[in-house]
Symmetry: C2
Amino acid sequence: MNEDFKEILKSHGLKVTNQRIVVLETLSRHKGEHLTPEEIYEIVKKEHPEIGLATIYRTIQLLCQLDLVEKVVLVDGIVRYEMVEKQKGKAHHHHHIVCLDCGNVESFEDDLLENLEDAISKKTGFEIVNHEVKFYGYCNKCKKKHIN
Amino acid sequence: MNEDFKEILKSHGLKVTNQRIVVLETLSRHKGEHLTPEEIYEIVKKEHPEIGLATIYRTIQLLCQLDLVEKVVLVDGIVRYEMVEKQKGKAHHHHHIVCLDCGNVESFEDDLLENLEDAISKKTGFEIVNHEVKFYGYCNKCKKKHIN
DNA sequence: CTTAGTGCAAAGCTTTTGCACTGCA
DNA sequence: TGCAGTGCAAAAGCTTTGCACTAAG
């Protein structure tokens, strides 16, 4: 997958730098997690203290444009990023469940809304290209202490 | 509705100030729109130049807590607010369609996902209390110029 | 009167940017 | 070697906060 990444960079006329590999590998090692730029920076810093925060920002933006990483913004307004996991070359559709107490974000797969897009497209005149669904609630751990 | 608002404030032990009324009325006059704090401030300033931006921030937070106003955060990370429109005392469920070109945000009503909550609750163990759906695409105006 | 609420300016965050330097191609 | 990419620090948003002042109850 490292080789794939290098090819993707080259095919876009971009340079293969150690910083880019390190950031992608870091996100890759945290699949399923939703990390803030600061968190990514802290993780990267442990092994590569020379890499600056600005590079983290520039690199995750790049990875988003290359569709390798997805930006996730919840109602709290905090920006997080997660590795896009691809199956047979195509990214699967997934959505998020957010714990309102501890902030834990989990993903689940669902394609139930694909057909909805058509209906809404007709109703509104929008040409719909994507959708995102978020559920908010309390996770197993937190729902016990959340009694009100 | 102005009187209702005063009652709501009083019942929460909050003071009825002119600033709070002005902000709510401003949002009320822009039902269906999704305004940033800055935009709200600019509108308010025209008639009430003495009201400061900090008060706008404090007031919209308050209105959110009182469930009179809803915070909307899109993938662009920009925070917007909209008036909550209530029917028969209960806020109806609505979601957003966002134009990726001009940024226009429209709302549409839909309760199709209510039953989904149960299924996902069982699957994940989360106690789900809310959900939000966003569709991204191109609006009527923009889809014509978006040919690629 | 009392103290919640306000206005202003300063501070705090997160993110972006300018610029000299580095290192990939 | 040439120029994209990087590191650092400064700047640029956006939002919150401290404090003296104002006004609601």
